[in-house]
């Protein structure tokens, strides 16, 4: 199966809008929204939402106040400042679920309990099934939820015989992004022509090269600053990008989003034409990357 993961380093560069457009242009594909912290893909794909499944990414310490003698051993050894006395309590947001307190409590006043800290759904869009999720408020472990979304999406794709999976990745360079990259055939980086866009692209380029993944770059709203756009292009090519495709600034993209659509749903001109060009590049490069991997495996 071919897997394209779209990430951006910097937020707000248009990653999800690009994914939504590619979803339509690719027709039947498997879709996965790994931006579980701020999942927005469903807002433009208007899916028929399937039943909610619970996600438990961790366990958490629970204290039995009746048994607690207030000795303070747990408070002293908790590295996350998650325990307090008088009254004995656990800060459920600070607790990372290591379980040290449970093991050292001399009177067994603490126990671990699994926490539901997110939900995920298998939904149906016009362009293919979509696995999406929402992390509970003020929860961590988004990396685990991302891994779950990916694995579920892969399972559904196999079940339904879909050979292309499109993944909306997370922003940044930390644990959720790293989790969304595992198993990618190719990575598409969406950036913008600003100093911040360039700087963040540099960091995310280092990340994809760290994992030896083939990648391409798309410069969104490239005409907002042509000088920065040229600099981005040069840097991306020097870093070994398979291709660099510009997309023009087009208010129709925002208008379409406000209407709950992708720009390629409403027009074939302007940014929509650039996105079609991007899809042509992506599909060609993916076919080559996959053929390359198969040849290598054949050896």
């Amino acid at each position: 199966m071919k897997e394209l993961v779209v990430i951006s380093g910097k937020g707000g560069t248009g990653k999800t809008s690009v994914v939504a457009a590619l979803a339509r242009l690719a027709h039947a594909s498997m879709l996965a929204d790994c931006d579980v912290d701020a999942a927005d893909l469903h807002l433009v794909l208007s899916p028929t939402v399937g039943p909610a499944h619970e996600f438990s990414g961790r366990s958490q310490a629970v204290i039995d106040a009746d048994r607690c003698t207030g000795c303070g051993l747990c408070v002293e050894h908790c590295r996350f400042a998650a325990l307090a006395l008088n009254p004995a309590r656990v800060d459920s947001i600070a607790c990372e679920g290591c379980g040290l307190c449970v093991r050292i409590c001399p009177v067994e006043a603490l126990r671990m309990e699994p926490v539901v800290n997110g939900h995920w759904w298998l939904s149906e869009t016009r362009w293919g099934p979509l696995v999406h999720a929402r992390l509970g408020v003020a929860e961590d472990n988004s990396g685990k939820l991302v891994a779950l979304v990916r694995n579920e999406a892969r399972r559904v794709a196999e079940e339904r015989g879909l050979d292309f999976m499109l993944v909306d990745g997370a922003p940044g360079i930390g644990c959720p992004v790293i989790a969304s990259l595992s198993g990618a055939s190719m990575v598409l980086l969406v950036t913008e022509p600003t100093v911040a866009g360039r700087h963040d692209l540099g960091r995310v380029l280092d990340l994809v090269r760290h994992f030896h993944l083939p990648f391409a770059v798309c410069i969104n709203k490239h005409d907002l600053n042509l000088r920065q756009a040229r600099a981005v292009q040069t840097e991306a090519e020097a870093a070994g990008a398979l291709f660099v495709v510009p997309i023009r600034y087009d208010r129709a993209v925002t208008d379409a989003m406000v209407a709950g659509k992708s720009v390629v749903d409403v027009t074939t001109e302007g940014a929509a034409a650039d996105l079609s060009d991007l899809w042509l590049h992506v599909s060609t490069a993916l076919a080559e990357v996959v053929r390359g991997t198969e040849t290598e495996q054949g050896k």
Binding site: T16, G172, A196, T254
Partner: protein, 286 residues
């Protein structure tokens, strides 16, 4: 006053608001500190160009096993909730990137064969841009966990400063929570689009779960639709600043400039923002 600037959605103008809030205060001769806690993509320095006085490594403790003492009993693997240490029949493997530094293996090893050694995950760059003191947390590329770098950056907060601006990462999960904890007020920067509103709702829920007072800045307030304003009204959240879509702001930003320097007419907006945040923070205390 300690203000954390956050946003559910990335790219809404969080850094622009944080940088200009800080810089407008410096222009008024206040003692200001800017703490960049968006350690995965720390961009504040691209606009502030601080001179770096010192660079400090951020280390987290990870276990190391003394093989001469280890009896391969397997207690360390059993007690590790994060599968970061695996006791095999003849050796013990440590996976530093999975380790949460909880200390369980070190403390519970019956042979005392485990000690903790520091492992670098990022750095702090401490410096100043004119009178503005700047602390930038930077997570090393390839490292998964931002919170230790964020916590280290926040240890450099100067309680005596008139204004401390914390630039938080986007999203609603652990790095954001570590960044906004302890703030007198959280400013959420959003834009009036379906993505902006959806992500703002999540961010509001997060800030409320932490019990912190909050306010909203509506950036590019004239694009999109009216749903952001309606949501804030319904929730009783004050929109403390509306910035219109102004191509000149986009140009100043793209080139790495500070808006209140390049477009001085915006100075009044960021002064008014600071005044209003002061009022809201004081109200929440009383």
């Amino acid at each position: 006053m300690r203000v954390a600037v956050a946003s559910g959605k990335g790219g809404t103008g969080k850094t622009t608001v944080a940088v200009n809030l800080a810089w407008a205060a410096v222009q008024d001769d206040l003692q200001v500190q800017y703490i960049d806690c968006d350690v995965e993509e720390p961009d504040g320095a691209l606009f502030l160009h601080p001179e770096i006085g010192s660079v400090l490594s951020v280390d987290v403790p990870v276990p190391t096993v003394d093989e001469d003492v280890c009896t391969h009993c397997g207690v360390c693997s059993d007690v590790c909730a994060f599968r970061a240490i695996a006791a095999l029949p003849t050796t013990v493997l440590v996976f530093p990137e999975l380790c949460h530094a909880c200390g369980a293996c070190t403390m519970l090893c019956p042979e005392h064969a485990i000690t903790e050694v520091p492992r670098r995950t990022g750095e702090l760059r401490i410096g100043s841009a004119g009178p503005l003191r700047v602390v930038t947390g930077v997570l090393d590329v390839g490292e998964a966990k931002a919170p230790p770098v964020i916590r280290a950056a926040k240890q450099h907060i100067d309680e005596t400063a008139d204004l401390v601006v914390i630039d938080a990462p986007p999203g609603t999960s652990c790095p954001v929570i570590d960044s906004v904890r302890g703030a007198d007020l959280v400013v959420l920067v959003s834009e009036p689009t379906p993505f902006g509103l959806n992500d703002l709702r999540l961010a509001v829920d997060m800030v409320r779960a932490l019990g912190l007072p909050l306010a909203v800045v509506a950036n590019r307030s004239d694009i999109g639709d009216t749903s952001l304003r309606e949501y804030c009204q319904e929730q009783g959240i004050e929109i403390v600043l509306e910035l219109p879509f102004d191509r000149r702001i986009a140009e100043v930003y793209a080139a790495g400039g500070i808006v209140v320097e390049g477009l001085p007419e915006y100075g009044v907006h960021f002064r008014e923002l600071r005044r209003r945040l002061g009022v809201l923070a004081a109200e929440s205390v009383s």
